[in-house]
Symmetry: C3
Amino acid sequence: MGRVIAVITDFGYGVYVGQMKGVILGINPSAIIIDLAHDIGRQNVREGAFVLYHSYKYFPKETVFLCVVDPGVGGHRRAIAIETKNYFLVGPDNGLMYPVAEEDGFRRVVELSNPRYMLPAVSRTFHGRDIFAPAAAYLSLGLEINELGCEIDPKDLVRLKFPKPRSSDRYIDGEVLYVDRFGNIITNIPDKLLYGIGVKLGDILSIEVAGRLLEIPFVKNYSSVEEGVMLCLIDSFNLLEISVNRGNASKTLNVKEGDSVRIFKNT
Amino acid sequence: MGRVIAVITDFGYGVYVGQMKGVILGINPSAIIIDLAHDIGRQNVREGAFVLYHSYKYFPKETVFLCVVDPGVGGHRRAIAIETKNYFLVGPDNGLMYPVAEEDGFRRVVELSNPRYMLPAVSRTFHGRDIFAPAAAYLSLGLEINELGCEIDPKDLVRLKFPKPRSSDRYIDGEVLYVDRFGNIITNIPDKLLYGIGVKLGDILSIEVAGRLLEIPFVKNYSSVEEGVMLCLIDSFNLLEISVNRGNASKTLNVKEGDSVRIFKNT
Amino acid sequence: MGRVIAVITDFGYGVYVGQMKGVILGINPSAIIIDLAHDIGRQNVREGAFVLYHSYKYFPKETVFLCVVDPGVGGHRRAIAIETKNYFLVGPDNGLMYPVAEEDGFRRVVELSNPRYMLPAVSRTFHGRDIFAPAAAYLSLGLEINELGCEIDPKDLVRLKFPKPRSSDRYIDGEVLYVDRFGNIITNIPDKLLYGIGVKLGDILSIEVAGRLLEIPFVKNYSSVEEGVMLCLIDSFNLLEISVNRGNASKTLNVKEGDSVRIFKNT
């Protein structure tokens, strides 16, 4: 049995993920493999990092996260595995896994350089199958991480930081971190920051999003407003989310990841 | 190991389902988790109920069905678990699970009110992860259902009934219950009702669907007619289905769930 | 536990696959079920055969492949199970599984005729659930294949051969075998054939694809060229692939499976 392997990729649900699972079972036939998500935007490392960062704590300790959003495959980016205080992460050194490792605490980082723990033939375009899946499978069996390759200094890793909201006298300035498959617009503004400026359920927030000024009720849940009505709330990521009840806020507002969001403070 | 957990949601295949599985494994690390379906139409409780009702018997006894089509999340609807004669069901009290429980036979129903079996922090928008997934995980481990909360009377549950076809001298009047991902139009008219009026393979049925009168051959299977030709048959739900061989009947006829279907009897 | 079951269908990710998994667990409650792929083009037997053929070796020996791309369901095509040197295959006799069985080596082939190993009621439209899934489940438990029905001669099976490229003085003539979900165009031209005519990384290949003459750099990986630029490379199937870095080559060139591809040799 061993450790759970949770897989996150931008491959979509299809053959590429299927091949990775075949490789894992070839090494650990009783591996427990869970799809964390495969609908990450193609080569969108920041979106993958967001989803991973907001999900890892829900998994049991010692879970091995197999993370493949890898635009630089076959190039100069390093293939790595990270042992944190509670978890393992396997994937490219492009920032994808950095926020989790930084928050949970680095233990050891290695470069995946030991061919013994790769497939015999390594392609140039699919390290998810040929390098990362085998490494994750061996870790799930309890292999010591330093068997996988040479240790490297966490300080040398490619870093990825989510933009932090800035609060001034009159505004909170944030941005859109993630648009989910329902078109819900998830910002980088956490519940505490909103509550800190005295926002209460039932308030109407003045929000400028992607250059458009809106008055949006701040409510408890999606069904707090009528169908088709725009709302904002603290969502399951504990972040401010702009949504349309049974609708698609992202399409309605033509908003995408990276767009700016400004909350006007009551004065 | 314990009981199988089968998951049905309207979340699509992505991070929300991934987080639920993480929560389950955190409680029961060797849980067997199966995706029943995640492509239920958004917040379409009746469609979810249809898919669940027509699938549950294929699962082993004692399977725990984790059911999340939950437009009222965070509002007044209750979170419940149901023990039926052969299965367990966990989800919102909105009718989603009612047809299964009614058919299989109620044993016990409880409201999920015991915080011991929830995540420590319960969001207002994602009870699938914070309340339902933990309850399902504990049931999969063999927990007695009444540990999860106070027992409630099955008579007090929100009911959902599928519309039944009516048969008169000249017609069978039914409706569209489900359109599958291939555009097959699944009606609420069961095989027995058709055979009861003497319909035989090879007959041409006169069917009015969504206001349009059609003559459709009643055949054995999809390939009984040429490519692109409309047909009707008894499908794998044991219901009358209108289909186009290798085509999309729902698009061809512009038909959707809830549309009326009338079969003219031979006179 | 027993043998792994890997499932490949054209059903998409949804209820039809969910029901098949329920049936499997009803027979083998601790089956390890892996999704190989469910996004095969509807009733596209050749595409299914391609994906299966290029994936099976990544799975552990004795894996049972449950293969359902079955346009002839309910008609005259036979339901079969194949034991090869290292694997088991269950599905329709329409060529879907032929290339794998031929390459790995036939041991025994049987027609699935023993009702003891089917569901009690067999529908005419969904043998994946009613015949193939039970057979795969029993094989996963170690059942001898000849319990499932009468042995048949491999020579009597429906064959499927992938078209082979032809090499002449001036050209290599091949065709498009598969377009993946990213729009990458995968040809039937293997690495060896290209290297055999002296192609090297950095060369510009003259390729005629779907009637259009193109000059495409032959590179190491997707990120070897700028975003939006067309490239070709040896992909993870070990085949020549035409791609656009972070783009969709199939849409750009309006190319689909079966289209011809001609490589001009340097003279």
